[in-house]
């Protein structure tokens, strides 16, 4: 969002030096979304628009409760509604609040080529510093959750900031504040994990044996976590990835290739220079010119003779 906390970066995109981290003695935060307590009222969506001054364009009815149809540059969180028929043949309405998961190992930040356009604060929040964003869309490729959206107006990437501006002054995110059922909680990651444990126990006692916490270790855990009644099948919840991870293609692109290529290019240039210094230029000698002239003369004479 904005550059409010520039002395507590733990990660900074496209940066080869240590980011400013002096004020990093902070608790890791987390937002816990308890899907089992969500009633789908969309208060969180409204609160997000309200606090962040976002007004998505009014779209069309797509035959679903989802409104708008997708995340967007001005839609940072979105209720997603899935109808699931369980083993007993009963309908379950699985409603999930979608948005940035604030990965501990953020794929967007890894992919970003613009220094400082994506940062992670010591509290774990991953934030887009939009004036440094160049609009390339690499974050879209890096994200395992399909979250960032590029604006067609200003060509910048946008996503949920976890209300980093509110959190930095000790407030909870706007969606948490607005939730009428307590389905969205906010606090330190440890507290949220503990609280989730209690909720999961409760859900298990009520017959949801596979209830569990969604805090995927493949991305180092996330700072937005879900309590799911079907934690064994996250994809039931409108395609929440079962095993989210930064694509291996992105890992190769942003991993080994970068130093190897820089080294290769530098080596080629240095090799060329030392070839010049040792072997040196290949110059045509006077004898070559004389020989060429002699041959040209001979051939001309021969031609004249034969004609």
């Amino acid at each position: 969002m904005s550059d409010l906390q520039s002395q507590d970066y733990v990660r900074r995109s496209a940066t080869t030096i240590t980011p400013p981290a002096a004020r990093s003695h902070e608790d890791q935060v987390a937002k816990l979304i308890d899907v089992s307590r969500c009633i789908g009222c969309k208060a969180c969506q409204s609160a997000c628009m309200e606090w962040n001054d976002l007004r998505p364009e009014i779209g069309h009815f797509e035959g679903s409760y989802e409104n708008p149809a997708d995340l967007g540059p001005s839609v940072w969180t979105l209720m997603k509604f899935a109808e699931y028929e369980n083993e007993q043949g009963n309908l379950e309405w699985l409603i999930r609040k979608d948005g940035c998961m604030h990965c501990e190992d953020p794929g967007c930040l890894k992919a970003c080529p613009a220094p400082g356009a994506i940062v992670q604060y010591a509290n774990g929040i991953v934030d887009f510093i939009s004036d440094k964003c160049i609009g390339c869309g690499y974050c879209v490729k890096g994200c395992p959750f399909d979250v960032p959206r590029i604006s067609k107006v200003d060509h910048k990437a946008y996503k949920c900031t976890l209300c980093s501006d509110r959190v930095s002054v000790g407030l909870e995110p706007a969606c948490v504040k607005a939730c009428p059922t307590g389905a969205i909680m906010f606090g330190s990651k440890t507290d949220m994990t503990d609280w989730a444990g209690e909720r999961i126990e409760d859900l298990k006692s009520r017959g949801f044996e596979k209830a569990g916490l969604y805090d995927p270790p493949e991305v180092g855990g996330t700072h937005v976590m879900y309590v799911l009644h079907h934690a064994d099948k996250p994809s039931l919840y409108s395609g929440l990835p079962d095993k989210p991870r930064i694509s291996p293609l992105v890992q190769v692109w942003k991993g080994a290739i970068k130093p190897l290529a820089v080294f290769g290019i530098a080596a080629a240039a240095v090799f060329g220079f030392f070839h010049w210094v040792t072997v040196g230029p290949n110059e045509v000698q006077e004898e070559d010119e004389l020989e060429a002239d002699r041959l040209l003369r001979e051939m001309k004479e021969e031609e004249e003779k034969s004609s």
Partner: protein, 219 residues
């Protein structure tokens, strides 16, 4: 231009204009493209105004390069078929690199190194163009799925690195073999140059010297 009477035309005006348009676009692409590739090079984006401007301009340079390369291809493809001389020349590559030209077998208008540069670019530029379109966020950001774009961005960077390496070899070879740069700036070489570096081409030109030499028509 103080072109000696006895000089051979190696590159026509159209050849040269096209080549330097190509070179200029390639350089702009390298400078802007490297800035997105590694943080070391991000400062290069300032040459274009800012990171945003470099990101906006880069694909358009790429479109220009493809068009320019089509021109290059049409003008040069005939000169770049590999033949038996190339095998012999390639075997003697160590002598070539050491300037030990006595032991380098004679070749025609282009040697196999030059042909390899031509075919590498013929392969790489369209690859870069197509993979570049797939990751051109402004126009095609939603045209393909994210997994496709991930493949495209990887292919694009690998192809770009290869093209840069080929380009370094190409530029250094032009500096190393004296007289090559002039052939691409002023268009001519001396008979001695042709005899020394491209002997079969020399004989070809010498035998048809009365007919005004049009290098493009020589196979």
């Amino acid at each position: 231009m103080t072109r000696p009477q006895r000089a051979f035309t190696r590159y026509t005006t159209a050849n040269r204009v096209n080549h330097w348009i190509n070179a200029g676009l390639f350089l702009l692409l390298v400078l802007s493209g490297l800035s997105f590739f590694h943080p070391y090079f991000f400062f290069l984006s300032n040459l274009f105004g800012s990171g945003q401007w470099a990101r906006a301009a880069h694909p358009w340079f790429g479109v220009g390069l493809l068009v320019s390369w089509i021109g290059m291809f049409v003008q040069f493809w005939r000169n770049n078929f590999f033949n038996r001389d190339d095998a012999a020349w390639s075997k003697a590559i160590v002598s070539v690199v050491k300037n030990d030209d006595e032991h380098v077998p004679p070749v025609g208008r282009n040697n196999s190194g030059q042909k390899a540069v031509f075919w590498a670019m013929t392969l790489l530029i369209p690859t870069l163009f197509v993979s570049g379109l797939l990751i051109w966020q402004v126009y095609f950001g939603e045209a393909t799925s994210i997994p496709v774009q991930r493949v495209a961005v990887l292919v694009h960077s690998l192809a770009a690195i290869t093209a840069i390496l080929v380009w370094i070899v190409h530029v250094y070879a032009a500096i190393w073999i004296r007289g090559s740069v002039r052939s691409m700036t002023q268009g001519y070489v001396t008979p001695g140059w042709a005899w020394h570096h491209h002997r079969k081409w020399f004989y070809q030109l010498a035998s048809g010297q009365r007919v005004k030499t049009e290098p493009r028509k020589n196979p």
